[in-house]
Symmetry: C2
Subunit: 338 residues, 2 copies
DNA sequence: CTCCTTTGACGAAACCTTTCGGCAAGGCTA
DNA sequence: TAGCCTTGCCGAAAGGTTTCGTCAAAGGAG
């Protein structure tokens, strides 16, 4: 006549182990003082009974939910271009999910909060923001509400040290040096002037490198909403110069293909007449003809580092400055002159 | 000397509105009976005070967490090929997130549970499983634990009606008819024999169509781990036949490009000598040369439908059979013979 | 005028875990 | 032996919401 097939609680464990609920709690949370023998007894009781603490009860009492939220720039769901960075974003999400689970937390994906009400609904311990825009609205909201946040890529207006970024300067120099080593003399840059650290750092590094190497900088800006078409237009204008570039470094995803369009159109070839490199690797660059050399931004490493950093921030540690991830250059046919 | 900058609770709302906490709760949950005037008073009190119910407290009492989990096939994070369907998966995640938020829930992304312990950690109201494998382990675990689940795409061993699927048969026929209309006489199929409904349905529809149209079926199977390379090999073997096909329908993502490789290699052209269509649309098919006609599997619609279905299952409704989403054929240059 | 039903609202218990202060027993010091 | 500290454990309160049963007042029927 037993009417208790219900999910076990900490009380069941306590009874089974012959201790108090407090002691069980202390054991599973590694708090307080408890005799090793007792600890052992409790742990076996836990697994015998098959108990898992309710996240909600724990959260209610402790004030910590054990949940991180990840805010992606999902604004354009459904609109044509919005998947341009799908690969990168998906890698971020997947890796964040894996990392949060490893730390016994959960990862929530959410549209970016623009308003305190959205935020309150979130009810999480911390937030990871991918690709923050300059002075990101969401970030302000979170700061005001006292919700710990870290960003993946740096918000250029921020200086608090709570973010993860790639070594944009280093990767730019690496690309420029590589192109030079392959014989390029006049390297042009295709980028955007959107307020993202990625673009700013790259442009700055390029300018400095040009100055140091006594090369005349040639830059073309594209419209991030239509990367391929506007990149093609930009490169066309470069090719019409009296002294056209012999190599192109195209940053935003999609622009290397636009560059390739323009070059092919002009009857020139890659890598024969021009070298071509991309700033963000992805399938499309791997399968184009020729395959295009590009910078691997290491999204998986970025994500893991971000989760780690957020965990530290949530637990009250002081900021130690941003985490910098080294990128890797994937050399392919488009820059292999022989 | 006010020491209460704390987050407001339902009690604060109750006091402000001059009613009991019970009444506030009834109002916000549309339960019980409450006078329209009172309801109004409570609602303004809620927004005056700026109160949002704690998810954890609500969950603790009601037993419902307001969270759905989404399990993706994230097994291969980090391994080379794993991002093949990144675009599709990302669209699923994004759309699921949007849809759950719309229904005032949250979406959690998680690795697929393989074991009851993983599952207990989940602590969610329901689970969405994308791309279930035949007799998916996770599904068994969930069923045994009594956790409501729906799948995106059908688990071919299941018959309970709780899933969302695309009209694979319809889309196959649409492609075959389209190719025929463009002049194809001998259409070959490149697919995989992995135990997924997508492949099974397509193969079956193809076989039936061939029988009805008195066409000799020609099928090549690929290795899903290396779609492009094995598809190229398969198509090479087709082209060596004494009576080679004049059109190819390549299903898994990546295979149309492999087919294109093999065709180009043989000195033939698309769409001049052969027509080519893909079973799953994506950027790589849009930007290849020529752009390749493909089936848009409507991930966004699938996701929204899945969330909707799960909500119904969670609230105890009876299954009404699977939800079928109509696909759309994106016609491009690769099948445009003129 | 009485009795019954409906309406509108409420008090208190329950949900499950963590936290806080306390307490008994044993060991050590002087 | 007295006093103090450490160890190991526990009781009870607290955290915010929903649920259950109750109840007074108003309305309707006879």
């Amino acid at each position: 006549m037993s009417t208790k097939p219900a999910r076990p609680t900490i009380r069941d464990v306590a009874i089974r182990a012959g201790v108090s609920m407090t002691t069980v709690s202390d054991v599973v949370n590694s708090k307080g003082r408890v005799d090793p023998a007792t600890r052992e007894r409790v742990l076996t009781a836990v697994s015998d009974v098959g108990w898992r603490p309710r996240r909600s009860a724990r959260a209610l009492r402790s004030g910590r939910t054990g949940v991180f939220a990840m805010c992606l720039p999902l604004g354009h769901v459904g609109v044509g271009d919005w998947l341009t960075n799908a690969e990168y974003d998906m890698a971020l999400v997947a890796a964040c999910a894996a990392a949060t689970v490893d730390s016994d937390r959960q990862l929530l994906v959410a549209p970016r909060p623009t308003d305190v009400r959205d935020l309150a609904r979130l009810d999480v311990d911390g937030v990871i923001i991918a690709d923050p825009r300059e002075g990101d609205q969401a970030l302000t909201v979170l700061n005001n509400a006292g919700v710990p946040a870290v960003t993946i890529d740096r918000d250029i207006q921020r200086t608090d040290g709570w973010w993860v970024e790639t070594d944009n300067t280093g990767s730019t120099l690496q690309v420029l040096d590589h192109l030079t080593a392959q014989g390029a003399k006049r390297i042009a840059l295709v980028t955007a002037d959107a307020p993202w650290a990625w673009f700013e750092d790259t442009s700055a590094a390029y300018a400095r490198w040009c100055a140091e190497h006594d090369v005349k900088p040639q830059v073309r800006l594209i419209d991030v909403e239509r990367p391929r078409a506007t990149a093609a237009a930009g490169v066309r204008s470069l090719l019409r110069l009296k002294n056209p570039p012999d190599a192109i470094f195209a940053i935003p995803y999609g622009t290397p293909l636009g560059a390739l369009d323009a070059i092919t159109e002009s009857g020139l070839s890659v890598p024969g007449d021009l070298l071509l490199a991309g700033g963000m690797d992805g399938q499309m660059l791997q399968v184009s003809s020729p395959p295009i050399t590009a910078v691997d931004l290491r999204p998986i490493e970025m994500a893991r580092a971000a989760v780690d950093l957020l965990a530290r921030r949530v637990s009250g540690e002081k900021a130690v400055g941003p985490v910098v991830i080294q990128t890797e250059l994937r050399v392919r046919e488009s820059t292999s002159r022989r």
